[in-house]
Every structure is written in structure tokens, then in C-alpha cells.
Amino acid sequence: MTVLILTSEEDVTADMVVNELHATGTPVLRLDPADLPGKAVLSADYAHGDFDGHLSVNGHVLSMGGLRSIWVRRPGEPAAHAPEPSPWLTAETRQALYGMLHSAAARWMNHPRNADQARLKPWQLRLGHLSGFAVPPTVFTTAPRLARAFVEQHKEVVVKSASGPPPGEPPLALPTTLIGPDADFSAVAAGPALLQRYVPKQADIRLTCVGTRLFAARKTAEPDQIDGRYGDTGHPWEPVPVPDRIGKSVHEYVTLAGLAYAAFDFAEDEDGIWWFLECNQGGQFGFVELETGQPIAAAVADWLALQRRPDRRGPEGRH
């Protein structure tokens, strides 16, 4: 039974998991949907009430009947590397590939349907509430008056993007940024603004959840540092224990979201409270493992290699 990893060739975080699978003798096929059609070949048969399919790339072959699990890690857009790429070719290739994979009885990390919903930042905040996390007051709005009122109420407020920086050249950075009460809020009418009460933090927390296993890491913040992803504080990521209350909320969250993998970001305030900021269903773990030594790649490999049939009655990928 083979593990399928959907990711780009240059993804060295995926390498960490492939290496673990190799070490345990677990068959693995690594495929970038961008290489289909072309370098990768697909064929699926739906006939006589039965189904079978095959994928091959770089001399490796996978039968859908032998598919154990699927890790959706960093897949490219289907057909992106085709000689004549087009939105139509991408749509056709997506239909062929993901239609075939959904037809197989495999476990997903994470199931695309659950992943799509889990990416929605407003829903993350709602789920954070329902799971018992402390969540900073937040507003999404296209109303300048409401944005101004939110800032007047909470004084120190940050603005952040829900979907990341805009694509294109030159590449842009869009870190979480503290805004002042004197900001011109008229431009809020031109696009939804995500405003959140600033949490004065003494550390950033990255908690990685793999199935039921939790790995928390802490990085001391500088007093004036807003976004932990930007700027070098000189402080390393260090492993820390997961408080019982946080662990319970994490399990509640991933159960409600149907996620087998999730990376949570928290801000630890001066009283030691972990404030929920977001949950990245495909969040990076490579930098955490390399700095802390926490065996996250091995945990991912263990989950993918587990011999268990999906529960056909509920959403696939749940655990």
C-alpha cells in the first residue's frame, strides 16, 4: 500500500517525510499535479460497475487499489507545467486527477473539502470560539465607520490579510501591522479589512497537530515585534509542553474541522495566556522540527503509513 504525496519537487519539508517513509520501507509516490499531463501520466477506468486507476511519474507507478493515503502538501496547479497551459486545461486536469483520487478508498491529510473550509479566516475565529480558545476581538468590514469605531474601542489594533500578499511581481510582503487611530479608514470601502485587537505578547507559539499528537514550540518575542514571521529576534524556537486546556481545545477544533493536520499560531501574553490567532491547515513544520528537534515529520509519516480504512459514513480524513 502506497502513500501519495502531492507537492512540488523543491519542497524539502516533504523530503523530511519521504525520508521517514523510506526508512520504514513504506512505498511512496511523490507527484506535483503541475506535471500532469506531461512528465506524469494518469489513467482511470470506470466500467462494469467497477473502478481502477493508475498514476505514474519518473518511473514510479501507483494503482488506486494500492493507495493507502494522500498527503496534500504543496501541490502545484494541475497542468501548470504543460507546454501550452490554460485555465481550461487546468480545469480538465483537476477533474481527472482529483476525481480519480476521490474515487479511491484512501485517507486524506487533509481532505480537500475540509481544507477549503479550514482556510477561511473568519470561520477559524468562529471555530476557535467554539473550541474554547481565547480569541482576540476581531472585525472584518467594508464599512469605514465601523473600522474607525473598532479602533476607537480597542485602541491598539492590528491589520492583517486573510489570504496573504497579492500575487505578482515584484513580490510583496504583507505582515500583520499595528495601526494608529489617525489612520485614514476611507479605503476600507475598497476591500474587506481584517482588524484585530493587538495582543501584547511575550512569545509566539506554533503548535503542530498531527492526528492526535501535539508539538508546541515557543519563540520569545521582542517588545516591539508584531508579526513573528518577520524580523530576526535572535531567539530560537524551543519545545514547550501543551497546557491541558489548550490540548483539549486543539482536539475539539480539529475534530470539528475534520483535519488530520493543522498548525496553530498563538500569541502568549504577559500573563501566559495563549491567544488563538489562526490555524493553518497546511502550515509549515520544517523550521520548527529543524530548530527544536521535535519529530513532526516522523509523526506525519506514521499517520500516512497507518493501515486503516476511512470511515465511509463520515467526512474522509477525520480521525
Binding site: N19, R30, P165, P171, A173, L174, A187, A190
Partner: protein, 63 residues
């Protein structure tokens, strides 16, 4: 009108450096020029910055 959030964007700087490894299709791993898997050199991976939470942001926002 420029959306409010984009008022806080800025150029990310120089293009990314060339990574010191290449993909080996047979092993399905990235390899260093000396034949070792890239994952065998954690210091090099940290220095390359390709496993960080902003490394994939150009194509994947949920890092």
C-alpha cells in the same frame, strides 16, 4: 481606490537565492552536490530558509 490592507504592503526584497540542492526523481528526494540527501544537513536547510512559515507564501497563503 487602493484597499486599506494594501497600504501596509511593501516589496519583499531581492529574488530568492538558488537552492543548493536538486531533485532526484529516482529517490524522490532533493540531493546535495556531494550525493547526500538535503535533509541530512539541517543547518543548510535552515540557512536556505525554504522550510520557514513565509517560504511558500507566494503560492500557498496558509503557512
Amino acid at each position: 481606490m487602493r484597499p486599506f490592507t494594501l497600504n501596509y504592503a511593501f516589496p519583499r526584497g531581492a529574488a530568492q537565492a538558488v537552492t543548493p540542492y536538486h531533485f532526484d526523481p529516482a529517490r524522490q528526494l532533493n540531493m546535495l552536490p556531494d550525493g547526500r540527501p538535503a535533509v541530512s544537513d539541517p543547518d543548510l536547510l535552515l540557512a536556505a530558509g525554504t522550510t520557514t512559515s513565509t517560504a511558500g507564501s507566494a503560492t500557498h497563503f496558509d503557512d
